[in-house]
Symmetry: C2
Subunit: 679 residues, 2 copies
């Protein structure tokens, strides 16, 4: 995807505030596209009366948002480096807390992609009814688009993301503003769903107890809390911003929080005024003119309903709202695609994930992680059939688990700080942050408990399970690396430089052809103490032919035939090696394996299978080195290199064609990497 | 699966006639379990009147069987080596015909497994109604059992296969004999299905034209021709029989053909006498007491219906018939599991399949092929939902395609022979075989045409497509091997022994730990002309640490830092190598890669990833050898080997634990393979 980017241009990829804001707040802002629906449809389970309190639930969510944003601004001031929640948790609460947060965030990144693209599919279906039955496919395409956008790199993202996020904010503000004016002047068109009868879910007879209603309100609140998500993605993205990074991130956080609150409050107010409603199960819960709707009845999401009410049915503005919403949702998914691999490389650096994930791809967005996230989000979308409601249940858990642990870490941090600070002036200045950290902790923990209690069976258990499995895996990987490190560490005074006394070279001969002759030449060039060719006698005819060729060509190397009574070509070599090693255990054994290199992957499957099996087995033997001598087969070229010449210049040109990338090869001539030679 | 078998014991696995017969005729004999049903249900498409001619269709099939068996006895006399149809076709008609037959047979092997186990599931469901809805699962379990039985090796198969095949033949003869007696004495119980009304398929109004009825009879005949299948598996199995092999195979073929004809004729006669019927679509075609049967109505296969009529409802003999049938069907599937890999290794020997398939597994039955067949048959069974009727359509095509090409080969063979023979006596003796070959060719070709015409849309096209794809693949593989062979062949007088003038050794250092020190020791032991360590500067911290360690440990090898401006650890090494090679193009470059070997597969995924990427890239460079220096990490052991010692004896014992198999290792001491040392 695009040209590889030079290290020196890394600085250029840092984003200014005006592009950083849209890139990293798309996640948080876009949640206004589904959070109101979640609140209303949860309350509607108790019937239409319960829906009237939805603006108050919205207000509670806004309060939580405000506290969390304030707390995260504080966190940024203390940890400006961009490690985010993972850093705060591991530094203050230790390895296990860090891993818990890391696992929670990784699960959340997957879920934000699945939720956002599923919501986008829902909106597209509202505008284009033909897509109603293809929402899963639409969501999958959305995931792919989000992933591909990100593979192009973060800078490209920034430029492109300006459009949808700003467009969404402008359109939403216009929608809310116009709506408020029309509502005040009484010219707001009626919403069709306001006239529908909403039946309580379950058997209509049993009355809702007070406790049940309270539980339902809490459940609606915890669904709406999905609107708070996205805050953590800003703190994790500090590294991508221009300097002063932490301060810029803090500003972005504030603006984002403010806009988010305005959008949510405005939307919930208009929902309350219009009486718009969505329900979980239209056939069971809705009665339109006394009739249950048809099986394929499709509900317009709340933003769509409001757009129709505010802008009318005739204007194209309805489609503008829908498209802006879809675009911002897809870009929200994109933010996860930059955060996920970044977190992964952070975890890999601390040895909680395979070390190869440390390395960044060619274009600063990390290709490996993007692909992993793509696959995981696609699987989730398929399993939950792109149902936003189902996915949101899983999503909120992870986010608030991470918030809670992080705030616990901050509380611990401030307590430690206070222990070292004795000047009353400084102590007094600490009171604000300390109180904020405690309030945020209590609040986040409360929300987490509410979420777990009200949503455990609805899917929260899946997230908890995924987090535990992922966390356990990370700890196991770390333990493995630690134990390997302990074993391989060089201890002072260890006789590391003892050279093997003699070198025994062996060449495995499967047929006397050019690759074997090259391997022989290479083996002889390194002048071993002994050199022998080995034939494993799997087939009598093949063995006879090799021996004949050997004599005919007068090859000056002794050849040994190894019996293969079990027709297995590997074990006889191992047995032979062990017999010699028993006589001279401190010697080095070098096994030369001629290998065929062909251009295409399917052709490669036709070669080297037995050599590979032997190499894998030899790796388990002590004192053995495996020397593979490649022969570049290029039968597609008309003029093959002259027979027997070991490394002709013509071949060099050939292999450049197969090389890394045409571009890089072309640069080799002009670019001079600095080499530091030390004695 | 069991102990590996020594080469010398190969002779012991040869089967005598009394076990060879049941093993290799299970396929042919078991087809009487589904061929009659196919004939009857095809005819029943035209209504109940058409069913009455089913015994005559059966007779036609028996005639074809007789001719094919006679022709194959002849073939065995001419080609006694056991190559079977593939050998006859390739020797007489060339490479393409051989490949066509090979592909057809491979497809047939897959289908015989799918058809037999699906039929077995049908019979089990007839006896145990609870299995009716689980026939796919039952068929899959059957495939697995058939495959596992075969992995145990052919000898074990022989001993076990005696029981089901002989039991089936005895039970069937008893069924037919008793049936004939009861039918003659008029004491045969009525079959329920005889009293059912059978409606013609499609709209009941349109009368069947004469042409349509003829087509239907031909279609019924071509379905019944599935009974002829299995003949080819005897000729392909010659190698497994005791000497005189071809003669024994011929005898088996005759007995098998005779039994097969008796069983089919007897069954069809009884079906005709009782008026038993099965239809393709019970709900549309059957009327029981004027009523269409329920959706979940399950038809008892014909053998089951006959068993009930002959032996009565009260006796357990019905269950004996069913179980004998199921057992012989599963064993028929097993014969494919020995034939398939045997054919595969034959094709691999002629370079039509990857060469690694040439080698036999540990226990003479070829493990690779067994697994491939298992997977392919399971996929087919799933795709066609274990429907015998659907699978039979695919099956007959391949068999008769192979018969036809083979007989064409035989006709060509005899024509060539006649050209060289001039003595009138000898020529006269040839008349019989020549006529037989021609008759068989015409008959098989006619059947093939009938099959293709009547069944093309029903699935024959799938087989043709699969055969073409497989055949094309085989030809492509052969072309690839041929071109590689041409390129690698040693031409007389080529300067194959030119030694590289100097050896440049390079060690890639990712961290200064024991594996690197070992690699250094090995590199120094082989005394290269130059030796340098290379650090790719992907991370500043890591590079600094390596350089510090290098100085601290006073390692007497120069170390070079390679710039990695694109954070790619592979390309800088390649560039460096090319720079040096430009100065001295005829030298040898050895790149030493320290590798970590850990015990479990998931742990292995955590290591060597960048080394592997580098090795794969280096293989494309001319004049480069890759030396991998394994370090056996064994953190699970409490007492790790003393640091720095290169190959301590304690480690040798350790790696034996990880070795090939405990048994083989134990034998190393007592068994002395012969080694032929030549100068």
């Amino acid at each position: 995807m695009g040209r590889p980017l030079h290290n020196e241009r890394f600085a250029e990829t840092a984003l200014p505030k005006r592009t950083g804001l849209p890139v990293f707040s798309a996640d948080a802002l876009s949640s206004v596209a589904y959070a109101p629906d979640e609140i209303v449809l949860t309350l509607a389970l108790a019937g239409v009366a319960a829906v009237t309190i939805s603006p108050w639930v919205g207000l509670a969510v806004v309060l939580v948002t405000a506290v969390v944003v304030a707390a995260y601004r504080q966190n940024l001031r203390v940890y400006p480096s961009g490690g985010g929640d993972y850093e705060i948790a591991s530094k203050n609460l230790g390895r296990r807390a860090g891993v818990a947060v890391g696992a929670a965030l990784m699960v959340d990144f997957i879920l934000v992609v699945a939720v956002s693209t599923s919501a986008a599919a829902q909106y597209l279906a509202a505008a284009f009814p033909r897509l109603v039955d293809h929402r899963i496919e639409v969501a999958l395409v959305g995931i792919l688009i989000a992933g591909l956008l990100n593979l192009r790199g973060i800078r490209f993202m920034g430029r492109a993301a300006v459009v949808p996020t700003y467009l969404f904010v402008v359109v939403m503000l216009a929608l809310i503003g116009t709506g408020l004016v029309k509502s005040a002047t009484g010219t707001l068109a009626p919403v069709p769903s306001a006239s529908w009868e909403v039946l309580p879910a379950g058997s209509g007879d049993t009355a809702w107890t007070t406790l049940a209603v309270i539980m339902l309100i809490l459940r609606a609140f915890s669904s709406g809390a999905v609107s708070v998500t996205g805050v953590e993605s800003v703190t994790g993205a500090v590294a991508y911003l221009r300097k002063p990074r932490a301060q810029n991130a803090s500003t972005i956080l504030t603006i984002m929080g403010a806009i988010s609150c305005v959008l949510l409050l405005g939307t919930m107010y208009l929902v309350g005024r219009t009486g718009a409603v969505v329900v979980l199960d239209p056939v069971a819960q809705l009665r339109i003119d006394g009739q249950a709707p048809a099986e394929d009845f499709y509900q317009n999401p709340l933003l769509g309903q409001l757009a129709r009410a505010v802008f009318g049915l005739e204007t194209p503005l309805f489609y503008v709202v829908i498209l802006a919403t879809v675009m911002v949702l897809v870009f929200a998914a994109s933010t996860a695609f930059s955060g996920f691999p970044s977190l992964g490389s952070r975890l890999a650096r601390d040895s909680f994930l395979p070390r190869q994930l440390k390395s960044r791809g060619d274009r600063f967005a990390f290709t490996n992680g993007v692909i992993a996230l793509l696959v995981a989000a696609a699987i989730l979308t398929l399993v939950f059939r792109a149902s936003v409601n189902d996915l949101v249940q899983l999503y909120v858990v992870g986010v608030f688990a991470s918030f809670t642990v992080t705030q616990a870490g901050m509380v611990r941090h401030w307590r430690r700080q206070r222990r070292h600070v004795h000047a009353p002036e400084q102590r007094r200045r600490m009171i604000g942050p300390v109180v904020l950290a405690h309030v945020a902790l209590v609040l986040c923990a409360t929300v987490l408990v509410i979420v777990l209690v009200t949503k455990f069976a609805q899917g929260a258990w899946i997230t908890l399970l995924a987090m535990s499995v992922l966390g356990g895996l990370m700890l196991a990987i770390r333990r493995h690396y630690d134990s390997v490190d302990r074993e391989l560490r060089l201890v002072a005074g260890s006789p590391v430089r003892a050279l093997p006394s003699r070198v025994h070279a062996m060449i495995i001969v499967a047929s006397v052809r050019k690759p074997v002759m090259r391997a022989l030449a290479y083996a002889r060039a390194s002048r071993p103490s002994t050199l022998e060719a080995l034939v494993v006698d799997v087939s009598q005819t093949a063995t006879d032919r090799i021996l004949q060729d050997w004599e005919r060509l007068e090859i000056p190397v002794p050849i040994t035939v190894l019996d293969a009574p079990y027709r297995d070509s590997v074990q006889p070599v191992i047995d032979h090696l062990r017999r010699i090693r028993r006589r001279s255990p401190r010697d080095l054994f070098v096994v030369y394996l001629p290998e065929y290199v062909v251009s295409s992957r399917w052709e490669q499957a036709l070669h080297n299978q037995s050599a590979r099996a032997l190499a894998n087995r030899l790796r388990l033997e002590p004192g053995v080195m495996i020397a593979s001598v490649p022969w570049q087969v290029d039968s597609s070229h008309v003029d093959s290199p002259p027979a027997g010449s070991q490394h002709p210049v013509s071949q060099q040109a050939e292999s450049q064609d197969q090389g890394h990338s045409g571009e890089n090869v072309a640069q080799t001539g002009t670019q001079h990497p600095t080499s530091t030679e030390r004695p």
